[in-house]
């Protein structure tokens, strides 16, 4: 478990980091919390010549508010997000999902940005980011930045809109103040990745569902948003029966993996059960 040799640089600004990326090209790999990258290096599945550590760039850290948006720096750790009152108030779903990630050690190292760029379909941050309609701010060469909607961010297994020479810098989340939220994560042992996860957040009005957002973890090569289910839920009472019916088709068109934890059909079945539970819990039922 010893990585192959590499050079190490630790820039202190986004500009320097982007410049380092340009200089080293595809020899370089960006290091955030290292919770995905280091296992990969140690198992020698990848051997970059240069590792660019983002850990010393203050502007990538922390949670702030910008009008009706929350802004989370890409290098903000899971633990910091969990501790943020702004997040629990305005994006409770993210808080609930992150609380299920791995274990405390990993949550103190792993970062939200790293998780999003790593884009493991079994990771727990993608689905809530999608469901909350997050926007991802990407810094490119020469001080350029662009903003990509979560919907367009996840391209495929381990592939995102972040291109060569680019960095994810911020996650901007529209405030969902007052929305109920629940993340239903299905695992066999507690420290496991999601076999299936369902992220649901709901705005209730007088006992029925006014708006709902639903994201699915590990039901395809990217996190998925269940728009049809979201629409079917609008106006429904938060009862077992009504929700059961509204979410019945949540797995339609998904393409989950088959592995030792379950085959695709089982995952589809799980998604249906877990979506019902997540929505009901989010609605406080």
């Amino acid at each position: 478990m010893i990585p192959a040799q590499f050079d190490y640089v630790a820039p202190t600004s986004v500009a320097d980091a982007v410049a380092a990326l340009a200089e080293h090209g595809d020899e370089a790999k960006v290091l955030a919390g290292g919770q995905s990258l280091l296992p990969i290096l140690r198992m020698r599945l990848n051997a970059p010549g240069v590792v660019i550590d983002l850990g010393r760039i203050p502007e990538l850290q922390g949670v702030s508010e910008d009008g009706d948006h929350l802004v989370i720096g890409a290098m903000t750790t899971y633990a910091a997000v969990l501790a943020s009152e702004a997040v629990s108030t305005h994006a409770a779903l993210l808080n609930k999902a992150i609380a299920t990630v791995a274990d405390p050690q990993i949550r103190h190292r792993g970062t939200v940005g790293g998780a999003l760029v790593h884009a493991d379909p079994a990771g727990d941050v993608g689905a809530p980011a999608l469901a909350l309609g997050a926007e991802l701010v990407i810094a490119g060469q020469g001080g350029s930045t662009r903003t990509v909607a979560a919907e367009d961010f996840f391209e495929d297994l381990f592939t995102t809109a972040v291109g060569e020479g680019e960095l994810l810098t911020q996650i901007r989340i529209p405030k969902h103040t007052g929305w109920g939220a629940h993340y239903e994560k299905f695992v066999r042992v507690s420290h496991q990745w999601s076999i299936v996860g369902v992220a649901a957040t709901v705005r209730s009005e007088g006992g029925s569902i006014a708006e709902a957002r639903v994201g699915l973890t590990n039901m395809g090569s990217t996190p998925l948003r269940a728009r049809a289910v979201e629409e079917a839920l609008v106006g429904k009472e938060a009862t077992d029966e009504a929700v059961r019916e509204a979410v019945a088709s949540v797995a339609e068109g998904t393409n989950p993996p088959s592995d030792l934890n379950g085959d695709a059909d089982y995952r589809k079945h799980l998604a249906t059960v877990l979506t019902r539970r997540a929505v009901l819990a989010a609605a406080g039922a």
Partner: protein, 829 residues
């Protein structure tokens, strides 16, 4: 020297039975101690192993030039280079005279039989450089077809070792009619078919991977009079013997040290290719060498456990009185016969009949080779498999008869007033009280209340169903009477040795031939000696695990350390007292016959004169005033060879909730009442029980080694090999009943494996009980939510992909009769 005139009238509080915290824990837990990998020797080189990625291949060429030229590299060796001195990894237990045993070379020369087998060794100045260079070794393989499935192996169509001509290693049978311990099992079954009950099942014991905390590590120093090997092993003495037996090094030139060892669970009772390769390279280079494996290497190279198919036929009368049991096992040895190897299933032969009395019994095992990692003892070794089978069957019988599973057990178990009892397998159980343990467990569990809740959940069609699982187990511990081992063709004895050295300043060194690796022997042995010799606990030092310090021993496994090794310690202590007595009498100017020993002091009957054993030790050391002709030492050695095994038992009750919508299972309550004989240290016992329970529960729910159809281990890291953590378990309720063993002085029975052996069937019985009304009578282990859910859907045991499920084995077209293809890829990280 002083003569104590006032003998302490009070006996010091007995150490035995005291919940002492472990004296060795401070250093073990902080890691500021001697783990093998912590050892640094001057000029030491580091090794990396080049391993075969193929399950089965011949090696056509190995090019090492590039690796040799890499930075820091001192040498690269292939199997060919080491051929003359590397020795061979032997099996100690050929179970039949005609057993087929392929040569197992530490570093393969021309043929590899499983993925992960070593084909070359790189020695470099640093571990990182060695690993870098290992990637540069270029090996040409000619891939051969691999046999990966046990039932496929039995067909002999694809051979794991083409040279052997067959995959079958050996067959072994115990037949109660043949050996005179019971009747003819086929007759009993035939009779039951006509008006009685016959339960036929086939169960799967999946492959498990021992997950000790400290990966294996070996350091060899070839300089000096003896070649010294430090290794993270449970078996330093066995290792020394095997090195001497196969490498040409005289035994007297070998010193093996097991320093602090971080767990083993059987996984470190192997003598490993890595140890032999490290030794060979160190000798070649004349320099100290170290090899420490990564966890990924443990997973493919350290031996695995279990891996059996169990075909079972239980015969009973209509009322549920068992009349016979026939066991037909297929056991997967993996690619090679390991040190216990083919003997592991045989260790179960006396345990399938468990605590029950019935007339006819037959045990058969056929062992096969496959192109997978080798298989050997893992916590319980043969006995968990047996216990699982019989305890699952008893539940099935209860259903057939229509009574509670506890009732069917009570009907068939040996009553407390029937001990000693000779079983149908031919073992004599000396003591036990199954009624008492069960009554206590039932009460602690709230058995009747939980049954009522189960009924209510069924009636209300609750999506979460409740099931209760029973396991009334026994096991044979204290391996082992040497004569029995001899009769079974095992390659060594089962005695244990101990020495006690009475030091001049009043402290005591206890040398034990057992080799603790986390159990707490240092503490328990100190308690025994402190009581026996009447010296303070703190004054006792326990030494072990170094063939220079403890030259004789049979090491630690099979719940033997206390039962056999503890008895040796006790006997050595008694010899010390005997040797000290005439000296004490001389000092007290009394006749030996008038001297009695109590609470650390030799006193003269009817007087208050006395001399402590420490004072005798000092007087002996000075030698100034001893009786004529006496040898000036009171140190003593003892070697104990038990007459019989010991037979702990217990009643384990488990309540499981099953979410019928998802198949998820959740433990609600677990109670165990174990009878492990006399308890030396309740705290250590608690630790053993809790850890053991989790390990057994993990087999039921979480763990399983899976290969793909190329023979690559899919569960090759802890991402996919799902070990539980404390977050996955509940607080267990544990208690004891005590019927001391009659085969040793202390009355101890052994507790190292109890939890693991008993808990697996308790959990599976509970899950099946929760969903039996939905048409389920078996779920293959590990009982993943997917399997549970699919079983519920099918209303019968089902075949999930990559699975080979169990069901009645004579049902035509039963799904388990048609093994599906290998497992699919695990999820990415």
């Amino acid at each position: 020297m002083t003569i104590t005139e006032d003998r302490a009238s009070e006996t010091p509080a007995a150490e035995i039975g005291k919940a002492r915290t472990r004296k060795e824990d401070q250093r073990l837990i902080t890691g500021r101690t001697r783990w093998t990998d912590n050892i640094q020797l001057p000029g030491m080189l580091h090794l990396a192993m080049v391993r075969s990625p193929f399950a089965h291949a011949t090696i056509s060429a190995i090019s090492v030039d590039e690796a040799k030229g890499a930075p820091g590299v001192i040498a690269v060796f292939t199997g060919e280079d080491l051929k003359d001195i590397q020795g061979v990894n032997i099996t100690a237990w050929p179970i039949s005279a005609d057993q087929k045993t392929p040569d197992h070379l530490p570093v393969a020369v021309s043929h590899v039989a499983h993925a992960g087998e070593i084909v070359a060794v790189v020695a470099a100045r640093s571990s990182a450089e060695a690993r870098d260079a290992a990637e540069l070794v270029d090996v040409d393989y000619d891939e051969l077809p691999a046999v990966l499935d046990l039932k496929e192996a039995a067909k002999d169509e694809v051979l794991a070792h083409p040279d052997l001509g067959t995959n079958k290693s050996a067959f072994w049978q115990l037949d109660s009619a043949g050996q005179g311990s019971g009747g003819d099992v086929d007759e009993a079954i035939a009779k039951a078919r006509d008006g009685g009950i016959v339960i036929e099942r086939e169960y799967r014991q999946q492959r498990l991977i021992p997950a000790f905390m400290e990966p294996r590590s070996t350091v060899v120093d070839p300089t000096g009079e003896q070649v010294t090997m430090w290794s993270a092993t449970q078996v330093p003495h066995v290792l020394r013997f095997c090195i001497a037996a196969t490498t040409g090094l005289p035994e007297s030139k070998i010193r093996v040290i097991a320093p602090d060892v971080g767990g083993g669970f059987g996984g470190k009772l192997q003598t490993t290719p890595e140890e032999f390769a490290t030794l060979a390279v160190a000798r070649k280079l004349g320099k100290p060498c170290k090899f420490t494996e990564t966890r990924s290497e443990t997973m493919v190279s350290g031996h695995h456990g279990r891996d059996q198919w169990q075909k079972l036929t239980l015969a009973a009368e209509k009322d549920g009185t068992v009349t016979g049991l026939k066991v037909e096992l297929m056991a997967d040895l993996g690619a090679y016969a390991a040190i216990v190897g083919g003997g592991v299933p045989v260790l179960g032969a006396w345990m399938f009949n468990s605590i029950y009395k019935f007339g006819a019994y037959q045990f058969n095992t056929t062992n096969y080779y496959t192109n997978k990692t080798w298989v050997d003892a893992y916590r319980g070794a043969g006995r968990p498999e047996a216990t699982y089978a019989i305890e699952r069957l008893m539940d099935e019988l209860a259903v057939e008869v229509g009574v509670d599973p506890l009732e069917i057990r009570e009907k068939n178990w040996i009553k407390h007033d029937e001990f000693p009892f000779t079983t149908v397998a031919g073992m004599t159980y000396d003591s036990g009280n199954y009624e008492a343990a069960t009554a206590k467990a039932k009460e602690l569990f709230g058995y009747d209340e939980l049954r009522a809740e189960q009924k209510q959940r069924r009636e209300s069609n609750d999506p979460v169903q409740l099931g209760l699982g029973v396991s009334t187990f026994t096991e044979m511990c204290g391996l082992a009477p040497s004569r029995i081992l001899g009769a079974l063709s095992y390659g060594a004895g089962g005695w244990e040795s101990a020495s006690i050295r009475m030091l001049a300043t009043g402290t005591v060194e206890v040398v034990t031939g057992t080799s603790p690796h986390g159990q707490g022997h240092e503490t328990a042995w100190s308690q025994i000696v402190a009581d026996r010799l009447g010296v303070p606990f703190e004054n006792v030092e326990v030494l072990h695990g170094d063939t220079q310090i403890a030259p004789k021993g049979m090491d630690s496994y099979g719940s033997r350390s206390l039962v056999v090794g503890g008895e040796a310690v006790l006997r050595a202590a008694d010899k010390v007292i005997e040797k000290a007595k005439p000296i004490a009498a001389h000092l007290l100017e009394a006749s030996v016959d008038d001297v009695e020993f109590k609470a650390g002091t030799f006193g003269v009957k009817g007087t208050d004169k006395g001399v402590t054993i420490s004072e005798v030790a000092l007087a002996t050391w000075t030698g100034h005033n001893l009786p004529d002709g006496i040898e000036p030492t009171i140190d003593a050695d003892a070697t104990f060879d038990p007459d019989n095994f010991s037979f702990p038992h217990g009643t384990h009750l488990c309540a499981m909730e099953v979410d019928t919508e998802t198949g998820a299972t959740k433990m609600r309550k677990y109670v165990c009442v174990d009878d492990i004989g006399t308890i030396i240290n309740p705290l250590i016992v608690e630790g053993q029980v809790h850890g053991g329970l989790v390990q057994g529960i993990a087999q039921a729910l979480w763990e399983g080694a899976e290969y793909d159809d190329q023979g690559t281990l899919v569960t090759g890291s802890f991402v996919d090999y799902t070990l539980p953590t404390s977050a996955d378990t509940i607080s267990f309720i544990t208690d004891h009943t005590t019927s001391p063993s009659t085969y040793n002085t202390l009355g101890t029975k052994g507790v190292g494996e109890a939890g693991t052996i008993a808990s697996t069937p308790a959990v599976v019985n509970a899950i099946v009980d929760a969903v039996r009304h939905l048409g389920v009578n078996d779920i293959v282990m590990p009982c993943t939510p997917e399997r549970v859910w699919k079983a519920i859907q099918a209303g019968s045991p089902v075949n999930t992909e990559g699975e080979r499920d169990a069901a009645p084995h004579f049902d035509e077209g039963a799904p388990n009769q048609d093994p599906a293809s290998g497992a699919s890829e695990g999820s990415g990280q």
